[in-house]
C-alpha cells in the first residue's frame, strides 16, 4: 500500500514539471510582446520602442528564454510566483489567493447541487426505467447538456432576476448571489451524473447478487438502497471526486457572466492581457489540483476495491 502511494507521488512530480514547462513553452510561442501588451493595458497613449524596452527591462523579459524559466521555477519553489505584468502593484500569489476562495466556494455549492439533484433523480430514473418520468428527465438532460453555459446564465438572469425579481443579477458577497452561478455551473454536471447513476444502477440490477437477494425475499426498498445504489455509487464517487478540479477550472464563462470574482475571471483577463506569470501559475495550480485529486481518488479506489489490489 505504502509503496503504491509513494510510487504515485513520485510519478506526480515529473508530471507537474512537464506541465509547467509545456505551459511556459506554449505561452512564449505567442508572437506578441508582453511588454507592449502591458503598456497597452496600462492605457499608455503612445507606445514607443523606448517605452517597450523599459517595460521589458522592468519585467525581466530581456533574459534568455530558459534562464527565465529556470528563474521562475526556482521562485515557485519558494512560493514566489512573481508580479502581474499588467497590475504591477499586485503579486500573483496575492491574486490567486484572493480569487481561489471564491471559485472554491462556487465549485462546492455547485457540487452540493450536483449531488443533491443527480442522486435522487438518477435513482428514480433507474427504478422507473422507461416511465414518463424517466423520459422527461432524459429529454431535459439532453437539452441542458447541449446548452452553452453562457446562454443558460443569461436566461437565468433574465428569468429569475428580472422577470421573477427573486435574486440579484450578478456580483458576490451573500448566499443570494451564489445561487444562479452555481445552478449554471452544476447543470451540465447534473445531466452527466443522472445518466451515470441511472446506467450504473441498471447494470447492477442485472447482477446475480440482486437475483439472490430477491430469492432471499429481501424487501425491494432494501435491495434498491442497500445493495444496488450502494454498489452503483462506487464508480460515481470517483467520478464526482474527479469533477472537483474540473469544477474549479471550469467556471471561466460563468464567472464572467455573473461577475463572480474568482479564478476563471482572473484567468481570462490574464490571457487577453498576456499576463504570463498569472497564466503560468494558474495552469500550474489547476494541473496540481488534477494530479492531487487523481491521486486521492486512485488511492480511495485502491483501498476500497479488492480487485485493484489483486486481493483474493
Amino acid at each position: 500500500m505504502k509503496t503504491y502511494i509513494l510510487k504515485r507521488i513520485g510519478s506526480a512530480i515529473p508530471l507537474l514539471f512537464c506541465i509547467s514547462f509545456l505551459c511556459f513553452v506554449f505561452i512564449n510561442l505567442i508572437p506578441s510582446d508582453p511588454a507592449e501588451v502591458a503598456l497597452r493595458v496600462r492605457q499608455t497613449p503612445v507606445i514607443t520602442e523606448q517605452a517597450i524596452e523599459e517595460v521589458r527591462e522592468e519585467l525581466g523579459l530581456n533574459a534568455p528564454y530558459l534562464v527565465r524559466y529556470g528563474r521562475w521555477l526556482m521562485n515557485c519553489l519558494s512560493f514566489n510566483f512573481g508580479v502581474s505584468y499588467t497590475n504591477p502593484s499586485r503579486t500573483v500569489l496575492g491574486e490567486i489567493s484572493r480569487c481561489l476562495p471564491a471559485t472554491v466556494q462556487l465549485a462546492m455549492v455547485s457540487l452540493i447541487f450536483v449531488i443533491l439533484l443527480s442522486l435522487p433523480i438518477g435513482f428514480l430514473c433507474a427504478v422507473f426505467q422507461n416511465s414518463w418520468f424517466d423520459k422527461i428527465v432524459r429529454a431535459i438532460v439532453f437539452m441542458t447538456t447541449a446548452m452553452p453555459a453562457y446562454w443558460i446564465g443569461l436566461l437565468l438572469i433574465w428569468f429569475v432576476s428580472i422577470y421573477l425579481d427573486l435574486l440579484p443579477t450578478s456580483g458576490s458577497g451573500s448566499m443570494k448571489h451564489i445561487i444562479l452561478p452555481a445552478i449554471t455551473v452544476s447543470l451540465t454536471y447534473i445531466s452527466t451524473y443522472i445518466r451515470l447513476i441511472r446506467n450504473n444502477m441498471l447494470e447492477n440490477m442485472k447482477e446475480d447478487y440482486v437475483l439472490y437477494a430477491n430469492v432471499r425475499g429481501l424487501k425491494q426498498t432494501n435491495i434498491l438502497i442497500r445493495h444496488i445504489l450502494k454498489n452503483s455509487l462506487h464508480t460515481c464517487i470517483v467520478a464526482i471526486g474527479m469533477s472537483i478540479p474540473q469544477l474549479i477550472s471550469g467556471t471561466i464563462v460563468v464567472e464572467n457572466v455573473f461577475a463572480w470574482p474568482g479564478l476563471g475571471k482572473l484567468c481570462i483577463e490574464s490571457i487577453f492581457n498576456r499576463d504570463y506569470p498569472v497564466i503560468q501559475t494558474y495552469v500550474l495550480l489547476i494541473g496540481t489540483l488534477f494530479v492531487v485529486f487523481n491521486l486521492i481518488f486512485d488511492i480511495i479506489s485502491y483501498v476500497t476495491d479488492p480487485r485493484l489490489r489483486g486481493d483474493k
Binding site: P31, S32, E36, V37, R40, R42, Q43, T44, P45, V46, I47, T48, E49, Q50, A51, E54, T86, N87, P88, S89, R90, R98, C99, P101, V104, Q105, M108, V109, L111, I112, I115, L154, W158, S161, I162, D165, P168, T169, S170, G171, S172, G173, S174, H177, L233, H234, I237, G241, N256, V257, F258, A259, P261, K265, L266, E269, I300, V303, T304, P306
Partner: protein
C-alpha cells in the same frame, strides 16, 4: 467489511470536506459579507429612497479601478478624474483654470507661470500649494522615461515654486499642446505629498489622496469601489454624494443589471454596443445619450504596396466606399458618416476640402483609366497582376468584421478583390506597426489628443500610419509641417500648417474615413445631467443628479 468502513468514512469525509469548505469560506469572507451587506443595504436604501433628491449613484465598469497612482498608467482614468485634479482643465470653450487660477505664457512660448489657487486642500487636510505641486512634478520627472510619449517631457528644462502661490515650468522650445498635456489626467494629476513614498511615486503610493470632488472610501478588488463626496473640496460640491462602482465584465449582464435597477448608469465607448442603444432609444425607463464625435473610424491604405502605390487605385476605392450605408446599416445611424480624417468639430480641422463622393461609376472609370481591365473572373488585372488586396482587421471587434465583409462585396462590384484577414488584437497591432497590410482598420486617438497627437504619431514608426505613408512623395514635407505645428506659437501660422497637412493627406487619398465614433451612455430615467467632456475617458459625475 473493513473496506466498506473505509468507503463509508471516505464518503463522509468528502461530504464533510465540502460542507467545511463552504463554512470555512463563509467565515473567511465575513469581512466581504459585511461590506456586501453594506452595499446591499445601500441598494435597499436606494429602493426605499424617495425618487427626488437621491444622492447615491451606482455605476458599472468591466474591470475594477486598479492602481490609482496618478503618475502611472495602471488605473482607471474615470476614477482618477474623481480623485485628482490637474493645473488646467480642457473644456469645450478651451482651457480653464483648475488648481491653477490663471497662467501667463512668456513671449517666446517657453516659460509658463501659473498662479496657484488659494485655499485648496487635499482630502487628508494638507494644503495644495505651489510646493505640493512642485513635489508632484519632481516625482513625475524622477520617472521621466515613462512619460516621454508627451513631447513636453522631452522639452522640459525645469520646474520651480518661487513662492507658495507661483509655479513655473520652463521649456527648451515653445510647444503649443503644452496646456493640453498638462490637462489630461495622466501623469500630471496632483496627489498629496503625504501619500508619496519618500517623495517618489514611481514605485507606488501609500494612499490615493487628491483634491478632487470625491474620495475613495472602500474598495474590494474585482468587486466594487465606493467613492464619497470630498468635504474639503474647494469647488462646487457635487449633488451625488456617494458613487458605488460595481464590476460586471459581461456586456449583456450589465444591461440586465441596469434593467433590474441594480445600477444607474453605463458609460463609455466600449461598454455599450449599437444594439443596446437602439433597443433603448424609445424606452421610457432607460435613457440614451450620445456625445459629439470623439474619434474617426478609418481605413488606412499602404502606399508602399505595388497596387496601392498608384493614387488612382486609392481614389477609386475612396469613391467605392459607401459611408452612409455603413453608418446607417451597421451603426443604425448612431455614428455619422465621416468625410474627412478628423471631424470638423475638432480644433483646427474645419478645413475646406471636397469629400470623395460615393459613386461606383467614377470608381470604375478611374481604374479603367489607370489601365486596370476586368478579367474573365470579374477581377481587374494590369500587366498580369490581379487587383487583389488584403484587408486587416481586429477580430475582437465585431463591427470591423461586418464592415470588412460589406466592403468586400462592395469593392467586388468594381472588380477589386478583397481578402479579409481578421487577427486577434495584439497580432493585428503588431502587423499594423510593421506595415504588413494592404488596407487596415484604424481609429484616431480621439479627443483631446486629436489632431495634434494623432498627427505627431504619423512621424515615427509607432503606428500603422508611418508605414502606410512611406510611399508618399510628399511624406517629408508632411512630417516637417507636423513638427512645425507642435512648436508654432502663432495661431494663424499653426492653422495654415494644419490646412497644409490635412489637405495633403486628403489629396493623397490614403485614408478612407468611415464614421465618426462617439461616446455613449445609457442610464435610468431619474438620472439627470449625463453629459460628455472633452476627455473621452472622463465620466462627469459632478454634473449628475437624480430628479
Amino acid at each position: 467489511m473493513k473496506n466498506k468502513k473505509i468507503l463509508t468514512c471516505a464518503t463522509i469525509a468528502l461530504v464533510a470536506s465540502m460542507i467545511a469548505g463552504c463554512s470555512t469560506n463563509n467565515s473567511t469572507t465575513t469581512n466581504k459579507q459585511e461590506v456586501a451587506k453594506t452595499v446591499a443595504a445601500s441598494e435597499d436604501k436606494k429602493d426605499e429612497a424617495d425618487s427626488t433628491g437621491k444622492e447615491e449613484l451606482v455605476f458599472v465598469n468591466f474591470r475594477d479601478i486598479r492602481d490609482l497612482n496618478p503618475h502611472l498608467y495602471a488605473g482607471e482614468m474615470y476614477a482618477q478624474e474623481m480623485l485628482y485634479e490637474t493645473l488646467v482643465t480642457i473644456t469645450e470653450d478651451g482651457y480653464k483654470g483648475c488648481l491653477a487660477e490663471s497662467w501667463d505664457i512668456s513671449e517666446d512660448g517657453r516659460v509658463y507661470t501659473f498662479k496657484i489657487r488659494e485655499g485648496v486642500y487635499f482630502s487628508d487636510g494638507t494644503i495644495c500649494d505651489a510646493n505640493a505641486i512642485k513635489a508632484n512634478f519632481d516625482a513625475i520627472i524622477e520617472n521621466k522615461e515613462r512619460h516621454t510619449w508627451l513631447e513636453m517631457m522631452n522639452l522640459l528644462v525645469s520646474v520651480d515654486a518661487p513662492d507658495s502661490n507661483t509655479f513655473v515650468i520652463t521649456l527648451s522650445a515653445p510647444y503649443y499642446p503644452m496646456l493640453t498635456e498638462l490637462g489630461v489626467t495622466r501623469p500630471f494629476a496632483i496627489i498629496s505629498p503625504n501619500a508619496m513614498m519618500n517623495g517618489s511615486t514611481k514605485d507606488g503610493v501609500k494612499e490615493y489622496i487628491g483634491t478632487g470632488p470625491y474620495v475613495l472610501t472602500d474598495f474590494v478588488i474585482d468587486e466594487y469601489a465606493v467613492f464619497e463626496a470630498n468635504d474639503n473640496y474647494w469647488g462646487e460640491k457635487p449633488t451625488i454624494q456617494k458613487i458605488t462602482v460595481k464590476v460586471i465584465p459581461d456586456n449583456q449582464t450589465r444591461i440586465l443589471a441596469l434593467e433590474k435597477g441594480e445600477i444607474d448608469l453605463i458609460y463609455g465607448k466600449n461598454m455599450i454596443d449599437a444594439d443596446a442603444i437602439t433597443k433603448y432609444a424609445d424606452s421610457e425607463e432607460i435613457k440614451v445619450a450620445l456625445s459629439q464625435p470623439t474619434s474617426t473610424r478609418q481605413l488606412v491604405m499602404n502606399t508602399t504596396d505595388e497596387i496601392l502605390g498608384d493614387i488612382e487605385v486609392r481614389k477609386a476605392l475612396q469613391h467605392a466606399t459607401n459611408k452612409t450605408a455603413i453608418a446607417e446599416g451597421i451603426f443604425y445611424g448612431l455614428e455619422e458618416p465621416a468625410d474627412f480624417l478628423f471631424s470638423k468639430t475638432i480644433p483646427y480641422c474645419d478645413v475646406a476640402l471636397t469629400p470623395y463622393e460615393y459613386n461606383l461609376e467614377t470608381a470604375s472609370q478611374l481604374l479603367e483609366d489607370a489601365g486596370w481591365v476586368v478579367g474573365s473572373d470579374g477581377i481587374r488585372e494590369k500587366a498580369g497582376v490581379k487587383l487583389s488586396l488584403d484587408m486587416l482587421y481586429n477580430s475582437d471587434s465585431v463591427t470591423e468584421k461586418t464592415i470588412a465583409e460589406y466592403l468586400q462585396a462592395e469593392y467586388q462590384q468594381i472588380g477589386v478583390q478583397i481578402i479579409i484577414n481578421g487577427q486577434e488584437e495584439q497580432s493585428y497591432r503588431d502587423n499594423m506597426k510593421a506595415g504588413n497590410f494592404d488596407i487596415v482598420f484604424n481609429i484616431s486617438w480621439g479627443t483631446p489628443y486629436d489632431p495634434q497627437s494623432s498627427l505627431s504619431g504619423m512621424t515615427a514608426p509607432v503606428y500603422g500610419d508611418y508605414a502606410a505613408q512611406l510611399g508618399l512623395d510628399n511624406k517629408a514635407e508632411i512630417d516637417e509641417a507636423i513638427e512645425k505645428i507642435l512648436v508654432s506659437t502663432d495661431e494663424t501660422t499653426r492653422q495654415q500648417l494644419y490646412d497644409f497637412v490635412l489637405e495633403s493627406l486628403h489629396k493623397d487619398a490614403l485614408y478612407i474615413p468611415l464614421t465618426y465614433e462617439c461616446n455613449k451612455a445609457i442610464y435610468t430615467k431619474d438620472l439627470q445631467g449625463v453629459t460628455f467632456t472633452q476627455s473621452q475617458y472622463e465620466v462627469p459625475f459632478y454634473n449628475m443628479y437624480f430628479e
